[in-house]
Subunit: 375 residues, 2 copies
């Protein structure tokens, strides 16, 4: 079994072209990781993901821990075999879901107690058990348990939360088996640039296989998010991958890549697809709108995805309005194709030392009128 | 544009091997037609249907008439192009749905008035408009408006209903354009063998491209259904295809083929798939059952379908319990693969003059213990 490594292949200003190697293969970065919450990228097969160039997916430890349970997945041969995805997988620690989905949660030095959002059953996750669960699932890249600092949080809370996250990160590192899985550190620090920098420095001092930036895109202004990303990346080493968790919109991805981020994940392309919002290079298209009722055009002219090469907006609108389950599938294919194509274009631009020009065109192509279509 | 024809290629006792030729290609019979109610076989793409050997699908005039409307479909290039299905399509007349889905319906000599099950809007379907709607949709095989005789119905009602259906069939035939679409006649007659025979004879006298048997599988005993099929087919010509509408279970298909039926449709494989009931040669398997929680086996050992060659019962159960939309898709693939394989096996048995042996093995393989799993 090959281990984990990262190669920084080229840099264009701060934007980075790289390659992550894992036990289940390589990933070209910068990369967007589709979210397969419960061991399934909703509605799609592995073959469909591969056909559009997806090289890595994310699965949620919290959901799989509750159902069907990590031991069951392990018994069935691990997550790759269970969901028949042969390429790399990243699992989060479950921390974020505990903070966003569970009402009765209690944080102690030991870990976090919470009630399942499914049936109220009490569970405890500790840094050690979060690692154990992720080892049972068998992802290529795993995350330490962290406290996703709430927003807003005052300086004192943000500092205390960061320190707890560091102590938990250390315990995760100690608990981890030498099994080829990569463990990242998660930078926290709320919306305080100095605390973010301190968090990055401390985690780098401990030494992880990569560094995640957590606790962003939680309701703050875009400018504040960008400031936090900037403050963090300046203290991260060049030779390790950088993962901006839970981000984001196409604009966020372009910004993140410009700042030197290598990895992203977000439910936006998949969730929006199910809600009938489709991404195009000109902005968003809300398929249920009456203007598409008799529209013979594809979602995006010139798009090479399965959906756009076969179906009209009129048909996709019909499927959506009729509640047909082919609708979320065809919409998800288009949105993930858009996201993977966007990342591919950015990798190519970096390769050619032309990222600035790419960014300019990206913003010029976006039509203000379509952008106003709300989510 | 090629027209419609039927070739009876071989007969094994009463079981028939044939070939239906339509403007969009050929169909080997006996055939099972998956139901694509609203211009989509729920959750699947045309490529997936073709990969499992599906040669013809059915779409429902009633649903498409209400939403998105037949004129819209026509504007978008017709049903084949709208749903990107290049092979033959059969549409029903809408009559059955009016009788099964609509509460406020009124039957007159002119046609049927009904309230949409979607929003209560009043509509009228006449023999002429049912043909017009189906001409706009552009299916290869269309059905005349009929009254699906309720069950139970007394002799007098059944006879009157049959006579109305005959008058409507005549009007449909007169209204139809000479456009290459085939028009079938629909035999009614309730549960009265003599009325069924009379209906068959009358329709054959009018001359249609094929003959459907309607009004069965509506709650009657299996024995009664079989008696009605037997009474009808004895009066149908050998050189035209015979279509048993809305039937049925795997056992029904074997019986129907034995009786000389060429075409079948039923929502059972697709609807049951969405409810988690899977067909196997040993009987039904209810995937949510706890016994499959940690079961690494495929749904059916030896099954060559996409689902069985890639996924365990444990994974399918997990997807189903978690409400993942990949579940109905993978389950539907398996069930339709089972149905198309069953039909292929029967065609081969007839080809080899071995249908009796096939039927014996079919019944022997079914396990009484699994068969008791309820729908």
């Amino acid at each position: 079994m090959k281990g984990f490594s990262f190669e920084l292949r080229k840099q264009d200003s701060s934007a980075r072209l790289g390659r992550v190697t894992t036990p289940h293969g390589e990933v070209s970065t910068p990369v967007f990781m589709p979210v397969g919450t419960k061991a399934s990228v909703k509605g799609l097969t592995p073959e469909e993901l591969e056909a559009m160039g997806v090289e890595i997916v994310l699965a949620n430890t919290y959901h799989l821990y509750l159902r069907p349970g990590h031991n069951l997945v392990k018994e069935l041969g691990g997550l790759h075999r269970f969901m028949n995805w042969k390429r790399p997988i990243l699992t989060d620690s479950g921390g974020f879901q505990v903070f966003s989905l569970c009402k009765l949660r209690k944080i102690t030095e030991e870990g976090v107690q919470f009630s399942s959002h499914l049936d109220g059953t009490r569970y405890t996750l500790t840094p050690e058990s979060a690692v154990e669960v992720q080892e049972a699932l068998g992802a290529d890249i795993i995350m330490p348990l962290d406290e996703c600092t709430p927003f807003p949080a005052d300086r004192e809370y943000a500092r205390g939360s960061m320190e707890l996250t560091h102590r938990w990160a250390k315990r995760c590192k100690e608990a981890k088996q030498p099994n080829g899985q990569a463990l990242f550190g998660i930078v926290q620090g709320g919306m305080y640039a100095d605390i973010r920098r301190e968090s990055a420095e401390t985690l780098v001092g401990m030494g992880f296989d990569g560094y995640s930036i957590g606790g962003l895109s939680v309701g703050e202004e875009k400018g504040l998010m960008k400031e936090m990303v900037a403050a963090t990346v300046e203290r991260l080493p060049k030779d390790k991958p950088r993962y901006l968790m839970g981000v984001g919109t196409p604009e966020d991805l372009v910004f993140g890549v410009e700042m030197g981020i290598d990895m992203f994940d977000c439910v936006m392309p998949t969730r929006n697809a199910r809600n009938g919002t489709l991404f195009t290079r000109h902005g968003k298209l809300v398929i249920k709108n009456a203007q598409y009722e008799r529209d013979p055009m594809p979602v995006e002219e010139g798009c090479a995805c399965y959906t756009c090469t076969r179906y009209s907006r009129a048909y996709l609108r019909h499927l959506f309005m009729a509640g047909e389950i082919l609708a979320p599938r065809l919409n998800t294919i288009h949105n993930l194709f858009y996201y993977t194509s966007l990342m591919r274009s950015m990798r190519q631009a970096i390769e050619e030392g032309a990222f600035a020009g790419f960014k300019k065109r990206f913003h010029e192509e976006r039509s203000p009128s379509e952008l106003t279509a709300s989510l």
